[in-house]
Subunit: 215 residues, 2 copies
């Protein structure tokens, strides 16, 4: 890769880069062409020196006295992270959360196209959710190949997450994002990301508690 | 607070503490009484020295040569964070994601009780979702007081998130967790947390991209 200074980008940086992409895309939609690091920092709720440090991974992007070119910066971040293209995903577990994700337009907008929806429940198989027919999870190996799927998304209840992961591993998936509140075991070469909302709830509760203790 | 060494706990630590609580609670359900920091670290996918550092905020918890007492450690973390009690929440925006959250049992298990569901859509008002009658968002100030609600959860589409935030601010809410993919403006004394799944998708995509580039 030409424009990425270092191949190792820390997880916390990727977390902020995802925020910058969100904010830069909404600026671009508002036809903003240039933004100062101070202004970008304020919108993203990050300090300006942190933003400059994060963006240094991508070479020299800031223009002194001007700021960042919104479109260029956004494209460069996305290219470096490999999210300048579409990734086909398989969603396993068509419950409430699975349905919410299938219907959420923003996944496709951000390049994550859910190409197949899978469930073990015979009452769900064959149902059409958001234009996708729910397929039996046992057919994952065949469908992953056919639909060129690389990423699995687990939205099952916790007690079924490991079985869903096993199906995905057997189907030669390359990475997994799981929303189930439990840990799963997969071979080392497969990247697993655990989505957990609770630290946000904990952080809000903690901040309120601190303020109440001060009063 | 007696058992908290420092009032300032960094956000990244709180993120890991939420994981420890999840893992400790599932260990407790499996009747595990003691766990070594190495074992806990392995389950949580964090290195052991990081765990020891994080837990140092709570005083001396490890017992040399034994490990941590699962129940005591879990209680202490929850007490220090202020999540050893129930927090009443108001959910604003009864769409797909809102419904998924209302039906998700884990919120109540973790102490976040969604006591009221609100929406502006006249077609949704009066509908019962997961035992809660959907109430007009304009009635938030009255209901927040009546139901002793301290936290607001925004699950509206992005273009309605600011209005939802305004209702919550007018209702004297103390903290907000927003799932809408947009930034909101609220007075400084109100803690806001942005839930964003995309960094997980970005991280998986980035890791696969790195591996593919190596091949």
């Amino acid at each position: 890769m030409s424009n990425l200074k270092s191949e190792h980008i820390p997880r916390a940086t990727i977390q902020r880069l995802a925020i910058y992409v969100q904010v830069l895309e909404s600026l671009r939609n508002d036809n903003v062409e240039v933004i100062s690091s101070e202004h970008l920092a304020r919108i993203c709720d990050v300090n300006p020196s942190q933003i400059r440090k994060d963006l240094a991974y991508f070479g020299e992007f800031g223009v002194r006295g001007v700021g960042y070119y919104v479109q260029d910066l956004n494209s460069s971040i996305k290219k470096a992270l490999g999210v300048d293209r579409t990734w086909n995903c398989a969603l396993v577990g068509v419950g409430n959360l699975g349905r919410a994700i299938l219907r959420h337009k923003v996944f496709k907008q951000r390049g994550f196209h859910i190409a197949g929806a899978f469930d073990c429940d015979p009452f769900k198989i064959g149902e059409v959710v958001s234009g996708l027919e729910v397929i039996c999870s046992r057919r994952l190996p065949e469908k992953v190949k056919e639909l060129n799927i690389e990423i699995g998304v687990i939205t099952t209840p916790p007690e079924r997450a490991q079985r869903a992961a096993n199906y995905l591993v057997d189907a030669n998936i390359k990475g997994i994002i799981t929303f189930a509140p439990t840990r799963i075991n997969v071979p080392d070469h497969i990247t697993v990301e655990y989505v957990d909302f609770f630290h946000h709830f904990f952080n809000v509760a903690f901040n309120i508690t601190l303020k109440d203790r001060e009063d």
